[in-house]
Symmetry: C2
Subunit: 142 residues, 2 copies
C-alpha cells in the first residue's frame, strides 16, 4: 500500500471538510466519517493530528467542528506528510537505511523518478481544486 489507512482517511476527510467549508459550513467527526466511510473514533484521532499540525482547523462546542481556512494553499502532500511523514518520498524501496546515490540499492535508479513523480502529483493540486471537482460529482469519497 502506498499510503497508510490513516492517511487515506485523512485525505478523504480533508477533501470533505474543505467541501463543507466552501459552503461556509463546519463538519463534525460523525458526519465526516459517515460521508467518507471511515471508523468514527479512528477518524477523530486522525483529525486531531491534522488539527495539531494546522492542516485543518477545529472549533469545540456547539456549532463547532472542523473546517479548512485556506484550502487553496493546502496540498495533499501536506496531509501525507502530517500523517505518514516524508518516508514515502524519501525512503528506500528495498528497505536500506541510507538511500542515496552513493549507496544505492538495485532499484534506486529505477525508483527515483517514480518517487519524484509521486511527490509532484501529491503537490500539484490543491485541496480546493479537488473540492471543485468533487462538487461537480466527478469524484467519490467512499
Amino acid at each position: 500500500m502506498i499510503l497508510s489507512k490513516s492517511c487515506e482517511y485523512g485525505i478523504r476527510a480533508a477533501v470533505y471538510i474543505a467541501y463543507k467549508s466552501s459552503k461556509g459550513l463546519k463538519a463534525g467527526i460523525t458526519e465526516i466519517s459517515d460521508e467518507i466511510g471511515s471508523p468514527v473514533h479512528f477518524t477523530g484521532k486522525i483529525l486531531q493530528q491534522l488539527s495539531r499540525k494546522k492542516v485543518i482547523s477545529a472549533i469545540k462546542g456547539p456549532n463547532g467542528g472542523y473546517f479548512i481556512e485556506n484550502s487553496a494553499n493546502v496540498y495533499l502532500v501536506d496531509i501525507v506528510r502530517a500523517i505518514d511523514g516524508n518516508e514515502l518520498f524519501s525512503a528506500c524501496v528495498m528497505g536500506l537505511k541510507n538511500c542515496s546515490d552513493l549507496r544505492p540499492c538495485p532499484m534506486h535508479e529505477q525508483i527515483k523518478p517514480v518517487r519524484t513523480q509521486l511527490l509532484i502529483e501529491f503537490s500539484k493540486k490543491s485541496v480546493q481544486e479537488l473540492v471543485q471537482d468533487y462538487e461537480q460529482n466527478k469524484y467519490f469519497l467512499k
Copy 2:
C-alpha cells in the same frame, strides 16, 4: 511505505540468491539473511513463499539451499506479486474499494500514471541484470 518489509527482504534475498546462482552456488537461509541484513527465521518464511510460487527454487538437505534457475526471466514484479500481491499496481491510493475510471477518487487521475510507471520499473529489469550490476559493486543489499 511502498513495499512491505516482507517484500523488501524478498527482493534483496532474490538478488543475492541469483548472484550466488550465477557462480553455480546455492545459498542457505542463514547466509542469505546475513548478507542482506534480515531476520533469519522471517526470511525463511519469505523464501518459502517465493519457493512455493516458483519464483526461486529450493533443495533440502546437505548441499541444499536456494537458487534461481532462470534469473534472466525473473523480474522484480514477479517477486512483488508473489509476496505483496498486485494491490500496489491496482489498489486505490485513497482506499476506495473499487478503483476505476468510472468511480474515481480525487487522486485517481493523478496516481494512475505513477502506478503505471511503478509497474514498468518493476517489470523492466530482470533479476539477472540487477545481479550483473551487483557483481560490479554498483549496489548494496544491506
